[in-house]
């Protein structure tokens, strides 16, 4: 393993030197890789014909869970990210079961709503716990254990004034300020490794029964169910898988920077993820990966435009959907083009033959 990582680091150094004319530095590369993973998470659902925009919410869950585990509980990175993925996957089940009955726009709206609820929960979690503990203290429920907990923990602070006023201070998620001082444990090779694993997973998925069922559901849900495909089951499995991939992206990216806060996971993020898929196209897994990389690299490459990132994103989204409906990675278009030229050539040959005959 050790020499592999060394080899990778060598490769990375060279890659970064090659990419330096494009202004791609290591943090940018990391950002591109995380985005590619996110792109694959939305690819799975879109490929199944589900317009779910819950990825931001699951990314937040993955990030918060794994960051808390490494920072507060001292777990290893891989284990905490895995736990984050599992938690997101478990939460995806009760969300998916009712929500995935909805179709296109309704599904989009409901999943946007889910993402916002997650964000607002992260924002207000500390407040909520505070008011709850305050209520418990006032009602003297579990009074002693709370007080002793408060004495040992630096998360919880309880002060009781002489006049009976109770002040509770609880800090875990940090509200709008977020979590600070996260250990920077993730490295580029981990991102690359995870991306490769996900791509392998998806390639194998496409060649499995489940993968074929996904494509069938996208094309005609009712006909798929008449083929013996349990549509509800497949949709939920895909939703869970997509949630887990997004959560992993959250866990990894959470350990790239020292700070995460709820504003990282708002509607903007969802729009970005959608833009990866739209720009790249969703005919194959390569679409969202390339879309994500391009979209992330562009503002850096076009330095001086970095304040215009939002504008460029919007223009690309608009331009891609209007002018590039199949995305950058357009296999069908490419095949069509090849066929077009081939036809041209055979036609030309035939013309030559005809000429020769006459």
């Amino acid at each position: 393993m050790g020499f592999l990582i060394d080899g990778f680091n060598q490769l990375q150094t060279w890659l970064l030197i090659l990419l330096s004319p494009l202004n791609i530095t290591e943090p940018v590369l990391q950002f591109m890789l995380v985005s590619a993973i996110l792109g694959l998470s939305i690819y799975l659902t879109l490929y199944t014909g589900m317009f779910s925009l819950a990825n931001g919410g699951f990314m937040a869950i993955g990030a918060y869970v794994s960051v808390l585990l490494t920072q507060q509980a001292g777990w290893s990175l891989s284990l905490s990210i895995l736990t984050g993925m599992i938690v997101a996957g478990i939460i995806a089940v009760p969300i998916g079961l009712p929500v995935l009955r909805l179709r296109d726009i309704y599904l989009a709206i409901a999943t946007i709503g889910f993402g916002e609820v997650v964000r607002i929960m992260a924002l207000n979690f500390d407040d909520l716990v505070e008011s709850f503990i305050k209520w418990m203290v006032q009602k003297e429920i579990l009074f002693d254990s709370l007080i002793s907990r408060a004495e040992t923990s630096d998360m919880l602070d309880i002060t009781i004034r002489d006049n009976g006023n109770v002040r509770v201070n609880f800090e875990l998620l940090g509200g709008a300020r977020g979590i600070k001082g996260i250990p920077v444990m993730a490295e580029t090779w981990m991102l690359v490794l995870f991306l490769i694993i996900v791509i392998y997973f998806i390639i194998r998925l496409h060649r499995s029964r489940l993968g074929r069922a996904m494509a069938a559901i996208r094309q005609d849900e009712q006909a798929a169910s008449n083929m013996g495909i349990d549509v509800v089951y497949v949709k939920n499995v895909v939703f869970v898988l997509s949630a887990m991939i997004a959560a992993a992206a959250g866990g990894l990216s959470g350990h790239l920077t020292r700070i995460i806060d709820p504003s990282n996971y708002g509607f903007d993020l969802v729009v970005d993820i959608l833009a990866y898929a739209v720009l790249g196209g969703t005919q194959t897994w390569a679409g969202p990966v390339i879309g994500a990389m391009v979209l992330r690299a562009l503002p850096e490459t076009l330095r001086g435009f970095s304040e215009l990132r939002g504008l460029i994103n919007g223009l690309i989204l608009l331009g891609a959907i209007v002018y590039l409906p199949s995305g950058l990675v357009d296999i069908k278009g490419f095949r069509g083009l090849v066929a077009y030229f081939r036809n041209n050539r055979t036609q030309r040959k035939e013309m030559v033959k005809d000429n020769a005959n006459t």
């Binding site: 317009f51 989009a108 709206i109 607002i120 919007g314 608009l318 077009y340």
Partner: protein, 381 residues
């Protein structure tokens, strides 16, 4: 006891006026959805632009800029529309099919750049002619907001929706393009804010007198304090809604709109100019969004490029509650959301205001996706 009831009444008054704004905003969503079957997520950006334009018009120092810009844009728009219709489109059609889109994109980007370069000196001349400060009556500023919203919305129809319809794209593609359009509009506003105010924030003047003859001082009736602006908002919003209702049910264009909403193909077979109906619908939707934006600014005073974000989801909840595409439902939904928000602020604190709206949205979608006034659709095999 007395205090409690008077605060309750106060809350109700506030909720009703905010509800009127929400309803006005949600109407735009509902109009476009009912006709096009697509959710125009850029509607909230138009709302924001409405608030922004109104703010500029009310600011004596910024008003000349707004006016000069509008005139320059108007002057340029006529030749450029002619150019597009007479020359660009016919020429594009003569190109081979595969390259039409790409060439079209390039041509339009170049054209926009040229327009920008031509527009700048025109703007410079105009701003030189106009006085440094101008005081515009509030009602004219309101008209600016309404027209601005309407025109922006029509531009969206041409750039973001029409090309997709032309190739029969999925409804989701239209949703995505509306998100793209929203991003563009918000970011342009950000640049404009930066340029005009040196920060991404601006304020409405207090006590704007939108309707003549109505005093602007706060009315104090017993324990109640009513700012007249809230009443004015209610009056204007209700007036616009009634006008819309009249238009949709009684006029010819309204009948055509309903026909197109029912079935586009049949409508065009019946000789209805569907494209005109679209333009009118988008204009109306944008006008309502712009109006809602200005009224919002007058109540909450603070305007940023991001005010659309929170109302976007509020509006979404309102139309989902009322039944997507139902016009009366949107109004009802707007008021319901406003009441729930007000109640949640009273009982739970303001930080849960949005959370409650979302949870509501979520529940409605799961339990009754067709909304309160909508009807369940049977799916055909």
């Amino acid at each position: 006891m007395d205090l409690l009831t008077s605060t309750t009444v106060q809350q109700i008054i506030n909720a009703v006026s905010v509800g009127a704004i929400y309803a006005l905003f949600a109407l735009g969503y509902a109009l476009v959805f009912s006709i096009l079957g697509v959710l125009n997520l850029a509607h909230s950006a138009i709302f924001m632009w409405g608030a922004f334009i109104g703010m500029l018009a009310l600011d004596p120092e910024k008003a000349p800029i707004l006016i000069a810009f509008s005139i320059a844009a108007l002057l340029l728009s006529i030749p450029s529309i002619l150019l597009e219709k007479r020359i660009v489109q016919p020429q594009l059609l003569r190109l081979p099919h595969q390259s039409q889109r790409f060439v079209g994109l390039i041509v339009r980007v170049v054209a926009l750049y040229l327009l920008w370069q031509i527009g700048r000196p025109i703007y410079g001349i105009l701003i030189g002619i106009l006085p440094e400060t101008m005081i515009i009556p509030a009602i004219i500023a309101f008209v600016f907001s309404v027209l601005g919203g309407g025109i922006l919305s029509v531009i969206l129809e041409f750039t973001a929706f029409r090309p997709l319809r032309a190739r029969n794209a999925a409804r989701l593609a239209q949703l995505v393009s509306s998100i793209g359009a929203a991003l563009v509009l918000v970011n342009v506003a950000q640049i404009a804010f930066d340029w005009l105010y040196n920060r991404t924030e601006g304020y409405y003047p207090r006590d704007v007198q939108l309707l003549p003859f109505i005093p602007t001082e706060t009315w104090i009736i017993g324990d109640l304090r009513i700012t007249p602006i809230r009443v004015v908002i209610l009056v204007i919003a209700l007036g616009l809604m009634v006008a819309l209702q009249y238009m949709v049910t009684k006029t010819q264009i309204g009948q055509q709109m309903r026909a197109v909403a029912f079935n586009q193909r049949i409508s065009s077979l019946l000789g209805i100019d569907v494209s005109r109906v679209y333009i009118v619908t988008f204009f109306l939707a944008g006008a309502f969004g712009g109006a809602a934006g200005m009224l919002f600014g007058m109540v909450f005073l603070n305007v940023t490029p991001f005010i659309g974000e929170s109302i976007a989801l509020v509006g979404l909840t309102a139309i989902v509650l009322g039944g997507l595409g139902s016009i009366n439902g949107a109004v009802l939904g707007g008021f319901i959301v406003a009441f729930i928000q007000t109640a949640s602020v009273t009982f739970g604190g303001s930080s849960y205001r949005n959370a409650i709206v979302f949870i509501l949205l979520f529940l409605v979608l799961l339990l009754r996706p067709q909304g309160i006034l909508g009807q369940a659709e049977e799916n055909r095999a």
